[in-house]
């Protein structure tokens, strides 16, 4: 018993050492994933931000065709970097809707004029409430919604050029 006790500290340390080494080798994924992935879209009813373009309602998504839902803002720098990729996705035949976070019509109009306009609908989320309902923690984020209105995937951060094939693949799988 006494002999065992003597070696207990070393054994404990070895355990901690292994744990910490594992933590070093596989650093934590520090992005915050939405808890909504795999679930139906939450109840959204957002007013249109720009006159003449519809807002966002949950019912619009269960149409049998997958869509992208892009969470963006005119004040967000990575959103500018992401704009060309969204345009490319639109050219590939995809329909993209957007939620504008804490934004104004004038700022968004200027943003779209400068960076291109890939959006079919733009919902106004002046308080960030819809963003929270989606489980999104920042801008830009892009959700892939399948034809049954379920959230299939979440892309955190700006979509880079080399992300496009993967997104198209997931889209294909969601059909």
């Amino acid at each position: 018993m006494r002999r065992l006790l003597i070696w207990a500290p070393l054994a404990l340390f070895a355990l901690i050492f292994g744990l910490v080494a594992a933590g070093l080798i596989k650093p934590a994924d520090r992005t915050i994933r939405s808890g909504m992935i795999g679930k139906p879209l939450p109840e959204l009813a957002m007013k249109p931000l720009l006159p003449g373009r519809p807002g966002i309602a949950t019912a619009d998504f269960a149409t049998g065709k997958p869509r992208l839902l892009n969470v963006f803002a005119s004040w967000c720098i990575p959103c500018i970097a992401e704009a060309p990729q969204l345009l490319k996705l639109k050219q590939a035949g995809l329909e993209i809707d957007a939620i504008a976070i804490r934004d104004t019509p004038d700022a968004v109009r200027a943003f779209l004029a400068r960076n291109g306009d890939p959006y079919a609908r733009i919902g106004d989320d002046p308080t960030g409430k819809a963003q929270i309902a989606l489980g999104s923690s920042g801008v830009p984020e892009t959700f892939l919604i399948n034809g049954r209105g379920e959230i299939v995937d979440q892309h955190i951060g700006d979509i880079r050029a080399d992300d496009i094939p993967a997104i198209l693949r997931k889209l294909e799988a969601a059909k």
Partner: protein
């Protein structure tokens, strides 16, 4: 030139450390042979030179920062020519490479100190101790040279540097890391003593007496460092809290808990020759906690909210060093401790018994903090992301802490070796009475909740109990270390009283008010007179002018600020705090709403200052004890000669 000289000094120090290990090996093997004293004398000198070389490297780095030498990468990344001089100096250790250099410098200087001052330990044990100290230094020199070289040049040099994290631009914090490091790394001496004693199978009172002043000194610095760090977080972060159970804070608390336990068990070993294995174990654990703390902070492995990138090379390097030193020491412990004879025994009710209880309770708290700090890593290994907050630590540690306070009150009243329950109860009668009355008063009249009231009651009881050892003594002939104990224990009473008072009676107000309006908090009325711009050497700020009135006294002004630093762009909150005899008024200015109203956050925190006053008393008690011990050792040595 200076950077190259610094690097050269570092390499030379590494060489001397290697020589030191070899000499130590020779001296420990042939301690009793002819020529032993000569090898020993050479070993001492090598250790001293190694310390001086490390110090030279560190001072050369400070010189580079003072001169704003923008051809050195570290200076570029962490300094700016516009910065006030004191922050240029502090910039030298306000970054990874510089702080690691400071770390190893303290390590080498501590080793030099042992070589210089330690005269009474058997030659072999001292040699093994110095060898162990040099072996630790070699690993960290290698870490600096291969993974964290502070002296790297940039070409071409940029026009100016990138500044220093503005949060760190504060006189308190400029000197916080060095203090903490003196404590952290001072514990390395205890570690090396323990390794030396195990290697030479010489665990006894002489070893404990040699180690005690080093443990005390390191513990004093840790106490000051933690107290100062807590106050810095309190006024700089602008949240009005004084402890956040952040991994970085825990990293400093864990060595302190272990050192506190060690401090008490080393007394038992020095005085009564008891607790041999346990004391050696604690000496190993205390410095291991320092190294693990350094690792956790430096590798960025736990600090998820601050999102430093984990650097696998550096993290892996330090982890390998940890495995080598901690694993090595624990393996040595396992192999050797069985051959160490059991020390003196004692009864359950005795001073030793109380100190064992103290050690057990401290170890439990240490375990709680350790588990709470590392649990996110366990969860991560299992694929779950989580963080552990204050509620866990408070729920788990506070009850044990309260038991510890009770043990602290009772321990010094007991006789060594054996005492009677009845005698203890007799002595505790007054403190328990005072505690009960204080609890009843605070609970019934003060309207506090039961837990803070209980803590305040215990604090009052501990305060009374801690001065009892002075009763019926000739105060002039009472040894200084006894005063040290009394002051330190009183400090604990004062500090926890502050914590409980803040928890029970603080008042918080958050209001959006326009100029000319006011908000009341506690006994104060705070009126917003003006919000205006203010400028400093490398920041600009929005400053609120608050007029504060307390019933029955003259009004005064407070100026909380929101500061904007340009290099690098950062915002900080400068709380404005009014300190009065019975507490602090803490004010912060927040965002404006664009329509002329400003968020003003104000706390009235009764007796909160006692927390840090108590911390200062604890450190002072340690200092008194250290002076007393060193003086007595010297007198004993003279008498023996």
């Amino acid at each position: 030139m200076i950077a190259e000289a610094g690097l050269a000094a570092l390499w030379l120090a590494t060489g001397f450390a290697l020589v030191q290990v070899l000499l130590a090996w020779g001296a420990a093997k042939g301690a009793d042979q002819a020529g032993g004293p000569m090898v020993m004398a050479a070993l001492r000198r090598v250790a001293i030179v190694q310390g001086l070389l490390a110090l030279a490297a560190f001072l050369l780095l400070v010189t580079l920062f003072v001169q704003s030498d923008m051809s050195v990468l570290l200076v570029v990344e962490n300094s700016h020519s516009m910065k006030p001089l004191i922050y240029k100096i502090a910039g030298a250790w306000g970054n990874h490479e510089g702080s690691m250099l400071l770390w190893v410098t303290v390590l080498a200087i501590s080793g030099a100190g042992v070589a210089l001052f330690e005269k009474r330990l058997p030659r072999g044990t001292l040699a093994a101790t110095l060898g162990a100290q040099a072996a630790i230094a070699i690993g960290f020199y290698a870490f600096l040279a291969f993974a964290s070289n502070p002296f790297v040049r940039v070409s071409p040099p940029p026009l100016d540097g990138q500044g220093l994290n503005p949060l760190l631009q504060d006189p308190g914090l400029a000197f916080h890391p060095p203090t903490l490091y003196l404590g952290y790394v001072g514990l390395s001496v205890a570690f090396s003593f323990a390794v030396g004693a195990l290697l030479m199978r010489d665990v006894g009172p002489a070893f404990a007496r040699a180690m005690r002043p080093w443990v005390l000194a390191a513990w004093i610095f840790l106490t000051i460092g933690i107290t100062a760090g807590s106050y810095w977080a309190y006024y700089e972060l602008g949240w009005g809290g004084w402890w956040f159970w952040d991994p970085v804070e825990n990293a400093s608390l864990m060595p302190w808990l272990a050192a506190t336990a060690l401090l008490h068990s080393v007394s038992v070993l020095a005085t009564r020759d008891g607790l041999r294995a346990w004391t050696v174990m604690l000496a190993v654990v205390a410095f291991s906690m320092s190294m693990i703390g350094t690792f956790l902070v430096r590798s960025g492995i736990l600090i998820s909210v601050h999102a430093f990138a984990v650097d696998p090379t550096r993290g892996g390097f330090i982890l390998a060093l940890l495995g080598l030193y901690i694993g090595g020491a624990l393996a040595l412990f396992g192999a050797r401790i069985g051959t160490v004879k059991q020390g003196a025994t004692f009864e359950l009710v005795s001073r030793e018994g109380a100190l064992v209880l103290n050690n057990l309770l401290l170890s439990v708290i240490l375990g709680v903090v350790f588990i709470g700090t590392l649990y996110p890593l366990v969860a991560q290994a299992a694929g779950v992301q989580l963080s552990i907050g204050a509620p866990f630590f408070e729920k788990a540690a506070v009850p044990v802490g309260l038991a510890l306070v009770a043990a602290t009150a009772a321990g010094p009243l007991l006789k060594w070796r054996r005492d009677q329950w009845n005698a203890l109860f007799g002595k505790l009668l007054v403190p328990v009475g005072v505690a009960g009355v204080a609890f009843a008063l605070v609970f019934a009249l003060g309207g506090a909740q039961w837990l803070p009231a209980l803590v305040l009651g215990l604090a009052a009881g501990l305060a009374v109990a801690s001065v009892i050892p002075l009763i019926r003594r000739n105060l002039r002939r009472t040894p200084l270390h006894l005063y040290g104990m009394v002051v330190a224990h009183l400090g604990i009473a004062v500090s926890i009283a502050g914590m409980a008072a803040d928890g029970a009676f603080k008042v918080e107000r958050l209001a959006a008010i326009a100029v000319g309006q006011n908000v009341s908090v506690g006994p104060y009325r705070v009126e917003l007179l003006e919000v205006r711009p203010a400028v400093g050497p490398n920041w600009s700020a929005l400053e609120a002018h608050l007029k504060v009135t307390r019933i029955g006294s003259a009004p005064f002004d407070l100026f909380p600020q929101q500061r904007f630093f340009a290099n690098p762009p950062t915002n900080t909150n400068e709380a404005a705090i009014a300190t009065e005899l019975d507490g602090q008024l803490y004010t912060v200015i927040g965002q404006g709403d664009g329509e002329g109203r400003w968020q003003i956050r104000a706390w009235w925190k009764p007796f909160v200052t006692l927390i840090w006053a108590g911390g200062a008393m604890i450190a002072l008690g340690g200092l008194l004890s250290l002076i007393g011990r060193v003086r007595r050792e010297r007198r004993d040595a003279e008498e023996a000669a």
